[in-house]
């Protein structure tokens, strides 16, 4: 590709291991697409105002393309709008901004679908019946509501064979998660047949707790590929986990932002976006269930998905000169 | 221990507290340090005890230069002090407070039995009635002062500095203290004694140093060779006879405050009296007899269990203190100026004006500094408050000047009934008269005053009638004839009648 003098920033919502692959993705994208700068910039804390301050400051410093994980799906929109009015395109990466938004599109995991598929996988692992508990993230995060709905939908489809005992929320902090999940297992481990975790931390904590209990009866489907969860899958303490594609999000995001910022391309009005409850312009960055079958190869699978999306994205979604 | 103070100087922003002071304290003497409020006495004591460092000058202990960086150093050098302000740990027991410099340790742990036993020994020198296991915050002001004295004695130091130790205790405990001090003198200890009570200074001390505006006005003169009036004129700087308050003419007016059969949650039983308009009604009693607590009940700060309070003939109920002050116009000057009288961090101006804020505010509801200043200045002048400016934080004034502020603010408030608790504690003789005059003046303007004081001469000078309280009950009422001897004998008669009864009871229970 031609050299471009764009400066692209990839900005997560705050420090979190999920985003670690973005750093490599940024470096790879800079090299592969010959972009002047692709930088991974992390807000110091997981707070919307720190994220918006960081973005504003990067704009001041001449960055002109922004891949953002919205610290808040709605709250980020005023900032994205401001970017747009300064001719700096923005993409929502990993998570979406809520419509109406000026983000060009959202490239991320379809949280609703992922939670739905995860629950389906769990139900399958349980043999189609039993009682489950949903471990979710921050209640004030709108995605949590989506995930709760998705879990309920999957449960309802079993026609009563599976029942949902309860949603446990606000388990995003290590210690809160440890306390709540252990309290749950302490009290009702005999009544529970399955756990579906739809946030990073509770997945890790649940995997650990089941291992401590030595309980292989209770099935767990988590999210993300934290080492503890992967080990739990290997050793039979978890049935699977829903992998997301953070590297692909960062890599493809930087690629598209470069094209948009250069003014070469525009987003096609009639592109075949997926419609989700959050946005009408969604591209699935790919999600897959990691289980014992593919635990050795899932990284390659994700790489393949990434390359597929990358090579088709220009023709499918963009309108280029 | 011989202490030489050599041209010591100390300044605070806006004030030269000490401007080159020199004198010497010898072993085996009680050395009086006198001076008007703000003369620099406490500052000097704080320098000797390492609380402040002098700007200039030297301090010599037995001829060797001493350079104290902290009170710790001074204590280590064998110096102990009772400071003017109470300095106790409120949640610690009396015994632990007394022994805190020197807690007995056994096998690495504090030995409380031993601590209380030792504390008992020092406390007994002054007042055996205080329990060493009681928490200090539950004590009365006077009891705290006694604990403070016992604490200073416990160090058995070579130099003992006492800054107005008798300010809020009665004669009874003061005499016990003097006996201890005389014994220490005979053991060769050096003692510095600060007091505004000339009589006790003359009776107790050997020599006197007088400070005036931070300078020495008389250095180490023999008391025996000084007359009362020479000490006074050295203090105030001119030949001036301190005016005695003139005879009071008090026309028996209508009742302002009537109390009938009052019983309180604090333990008062069947208290009844009448305070007439324009009258000064004295309330005398020993420390802990319940005078302060009665005042508390009258201003809505304690639960009233039975009885009736009438104001100008109409029965009233008092919801809380601000109700008493703002609706019923009953004011109370606390004996505890630091905790209850003043807002130490706020300027003099605001402290004086606080009682009249709502009234001061202009029509727009705005309250300017100027308005406050206009109200406060005349009072500050009348009471001769020594300060660089009315903006000075009250906490930075000398003890006596703080007391003046706490009085001034109530003279500003236009209340109908004013309860005054120990008004002239720590006040110099000249200002004391001024305060007496002011109290008389407000009564002439129609304010009715209830005066609580442990200072018998003050009581006999000021009060029109005197109530005597003992064990939370009124035991006597005397028309004041303003002659000291017979009056004090009659008052003590009421108190002793009870004391003897109490003692014989105690003996009975022992026996």
């Amino acid at each position: 590709a031609e050299a471009s003098n764009n400066k692209i920033a990839l900005i997560p919502g705050g420090p979190h291991p999920y985003f670690a692959p973005w750093e490599q993705a940024a470096a790879d994208a800079k090299k592969d697409f010959n972009i002047a700068a692709v930088d991974f910039k992390v807000p110091t804390e997981w707070k919307l105002n720190l994220q918006t301050e960081l973005i504003e400051s990067l704009l001041t410093q001449g960055y002109n393309g922004f891949g953002i994980f919205p610290g808040d799906a709605v709250g980020i929109n005023t900032t994205i709008e401001e970017l747009a009015s300064n001719n700096a395109p923005a993409l929502a990466l990993a998570g979406c901004a809520q419509d109406p938004t000026k983000a060009a599109f959202c490239l991320g995991t379809d949280v609703y679908n992922s939670a739905y598929l995860g629950t389906k996988a769990l139900i399958k692992a349980m043999g189609g019946k039993g009682k489950i508990v949903h471990l979710a993230g921050l209640l004030v995060d709108p995605n949590t509501k989506l995930r709760m709905d998705a879990v309920e939908k999957a449960v309802k489809e079993t026609g009563g064979a599976v029942t949902l005992i309860q949603h446990i929320t606000d388990t995003d902090a290590q210690e809160a998660a440890d306390q709540k999940i252990n309290a749950l297992l302490g009290a009702q481990k005999d009544q529970i047949d399955g756990l579906i975790a739809t946030a990073y931390i509770p997945s890790v904590v649940a995997a650990k707790s089941l291992r401590n209990l030595g309980d292989k009866r209770i099935k767990l489907v988590g999210i993300d590929d934290d080492k503890i969860v992967l080990d739990a899958i290997k050793d039979g303490f978890a049935a699977g986990t829903m992998a997301q594609n953070p590297y692909g999000q960062g890599y493809i995001g930087a690629y598209v932002l470069d094209l948009l910022a250069s003014g070469i391309c525009k987003v096609r009005a009639d592109a075949p976006f997926i419609k989700t409850p959050q946005t009408a312009r969604f591209i699935d960055s790919g999600t897959l269930l990691i289980s014992t079958d593919n635990i050795g190869s899932y990284k390659d699978d994700l790489k393949k998905i990434t390359n597929d999306i990358r090579s088709s994205i220009k023709s499918k979604y963009l309108d280029c000169k | 221990m011989r202490v030489t103070i050599d041209s010591i100087g100390k300044s605070f922003p806006g004030v030269v507290a000490l401007g080159g002071v020199s004198f010497e304290v010898h072993p085996g003497e009680i050395h009086a340090l006198m001076g008007e409020n703000g003369a620099g006495k406490s500052t000097l004591i704080k320098i000797v005890t390492g609380v402040y460092r002098p700007d200039r000058g030297r301090l010599l202990i037995d001829g060797a230069a001493a350079n104290f960086a902290s009170p710790r150093d001074a204590i280590a050098a064998g110096i102990s002090a009772v400071h003017q302000e109470r300095n106790l740990i409120p949640r610690f027991s009396v015994g632990e407070n007394i022994m805190i410099e020197n807690l007995p340790i056994r096998r690495g742990l504090v030995d409380y039995g031993e601590a209380h036993a030792q504390a008992r020994r020092f406390l007994d020198m002054i007042d055996p009635s205080i329990d060493t296991r009681a928490e200090v915050r539950r004590l009365s002001v006077a009891q705290m002062q006694i604990v403070e004295i016992a604490k200073a004695l416990s160090l058995e130091a070579g130099l003992l500095l006492l800054d107005e130790p008798t300010a809020s205790i009665t004669d009874h405990e003061a005499q016990a203290l003097f006996a201890v001090l005389r014994r220490l003198r005979s053991e060769g200890k050096a003692i510095v004694f600060v007091s505004h009570k000339l009589e006790e200074v003359i009776a107790l001390c050997d020599r006197v140093t007088v400070l005036r505006d931070g300078k020495v006005a008389a250095a180490g003169e023999l008391i025996a060779a000084m007359s009362r009036s020479r000490i006074v004129s050295a203090m105030i700087g001119r030949e001036e006879r301190v005016a005695e308050i003139g005879p009071r003419t008090f026309a028996r007016g209508t009742p302002a405050l009537e109390v009938r059969g009052l019983a309180t949650s604090l333990g008062h039983k069947d208290v009844s009296f009448t305070l007439r308009q324009g009258e000064i009604l004295g309330l005398y009693g020993l420390v802990g007899s319940g005078r302060t607590e009665l005042a508390r009940a009258l201003i809505g700060d304690a639960r009233i269990l039975a009885g009736e309070i009438r104001l100008k003939g109409a029965p009233i109920s008092i919801a809380d203190v601000s109700d008493a002050v703002r609706r019923h116009r009953i004011g109370y000057i606390s004996e505890d100026r630091k905790n209850e009288g003043l807002i130490l961090a706020h300027p003099i101006r605001a402290n004086i004006a606080i009682t009249i804020w709502p009234r001061l505010a202009s029509r727009l509801g705005l309250l300017t500094r100027r308005l406050e200043e206009r109200a406060a200045t005349p009072l500050a002048r009348k009471l001769d408050i020594r300060t660089p400016s009315l903006e000075q934080q009250v906490g930075k004034l000398s003890g006596g000047n703080q007391q003046k502020v706490s009085i001034a603010k109530w003279l500003a408030a236009s209340v109908d009934v004013l309860i005054i608790d120990e008004p002239t504690v720590g006040i110099d003789i000249r200002t004391k008269t001024a305060i007496h005059e002011l109290i008389a003046e407000i009564t002439r303007a129609g304010v009715s005053v209830m005066l609580i004081s442990s200072d018998m001469p003050e009581m006999i000078t000021l009060a029109d009638r005197i109530l005597v309280m003992r064990d939370f009950a009124l035991v006597g009422e005397i028309e004041n004839e303003r002659r000291y001897e017979p009056m004090s004998r009659r008052i003590m008669g009421f108190i002793h009648a009870g004391l003897e009864a109490g003692e014989s009871q105690q003996e009975a229970s022992h026996g």
Binding site: T44, Q61 | R326, L367
Partner: protein, 334 residues
């Protein structure tokens, strides 16, 4: 140096200056930081960055005020974030679901803030329990109530005027900053020139002495908490206008910043002493350091480290200045 006629001369301007010396000194330090950042961080003084700073600053100031008014009483209010979000969600609900015109909706939301603050105050005074515990519990109670009622939905179809206000620019300042300054002016009047404000301070400095002077201490505490609630609601609504949406996550992270500005500005945690101007400059100091460091590209994960060190540096400078000033004034007079 007894009380002489020069009292009148000494007070007035001199007194004002000495009282404001803390704020003035802090302002000096802020200016130093501005000079440093302006010359080392390209873009720091660009119109866009100034605008961004002014907008962040405005909200931080009002959040700081909300805590400051209870610090004046010697208490704390841990519920300001909860009150803020309740007000915001109510405003969002009124405008989006009920179609209430925005001036009315915003007023009602402000009143809700005041009401919740008032409830805190009453609970503290009536129970005699520490404000820390009461507001800790009520924060949970208010947030919980909001979640139960709103089910954590977001209102983002608000009248366009709301978001437009947040985006508006006067030169390179946001009108939000003007709102914050106006609130500051009102607070100056309250604490300096009204009996009510002075009573709050007196109650904070020494509740017992104030009470014995006839100050209705309970009322002062209730008023301060009501005001705190009102200010928390105001901050929330300013954020609403900035974000253009009412969301249940507002206010979660207000707690520490809300203390930082007033305490930097010289407020005592023990009560009775605050500085409105100081709090504003304190907020400015923090915003300046944060923005400056971001623009100087101080590396990513290490940013917090530098932020902490800059903050230490600033307070040390301030401390040194105070000590130095005291020495000088002594030297002159002695």
């Amino acid at each position: 140096m007894s009380l002489a006629s020069d009292i009148e001369l000494r007070s007035g301007r001199r007194a004002w200056l000495s009282e404001q010396s803390g704020a003035i000194g802090l302002a000096g330090i802020v200016i130093i930081f501005w000079i440093v950042f302006a010359s080392w961080a390209p873009g720091f003084v660009s119109p866009f960055n100034l605008f961004a700073i002014s907008r962040t600053l405005a909200i931080d100031i009002v959040i700081g005020f909300s805590t400051m008014v209870v610090l004046a009483t010697g208490g704390m209010n841990l519920a300001i974030g909860a009150i803020g979000v309740c007000s915001v969600m109510l405003a969002g609900y009124l405008m989006q679901k009920l179609g209430v015109p925005y001036p009315l909706a915003l007023t009602v939301a402000l009143l809700l803030g005041a009401l919740l603050g008032w409830a805190n105050g009453v609970a503290i005074v009536r129970s005699g329990v520490n404000s820390f515990i009461i507001t800790l519990a009520s924060a949970s109670l208010y947030t919980g109530g909001m979640l139960i009622l709103s089910k954590a939905v977001i209102y983002n179809a608000l009248p366009p005027a709301i978001a437009a206000f947040g985006r508006m620019r006067f030169g390179f300042v946001s009108p939000l900053l003007i709102v914050a300054l106006a609130i500051g002016a009102a607070l100056v009047v309250l604490f300096r020139f009204t009996a009510l404000g002075r009573e709050i301070l007196a109650a904070g400095a020494n509740a017992r002495a104030a009470q014995l002077s006839g100050v209705p201490v309970s009322r002062a505490i209730i008023v301060a908490h009501t005001l705190s609630g009102l200010l928390a609601a105001a901050a929330g609504l300013m954020l609403l206008s900035r974000l253009g949406a009412a969301m249940p996550s507002i206010g979660e992270d207000w707690l520490l910043p809300s203390f930082l500005a007033p305490v930097l500005g010289g407020a005592l945690l023990s009560g009775g002493s605050i500085s409105v101007v100081g709090a504003m400059i304190g907020a400015l100091l923090v915003t300046t350091i944060r923005s400056g460091l971001l623009i100087m590209q101080v590396g990513n994960f290490w940013l917090l480290l530098f932020l902490g060190m800059m903050l230490l540096l600033a307070v040390l400078l301030d401390r040194y200045r105070t000590v130095y000033a005291e020495r000088r004034s002594l030297g002159r007079r002695a």
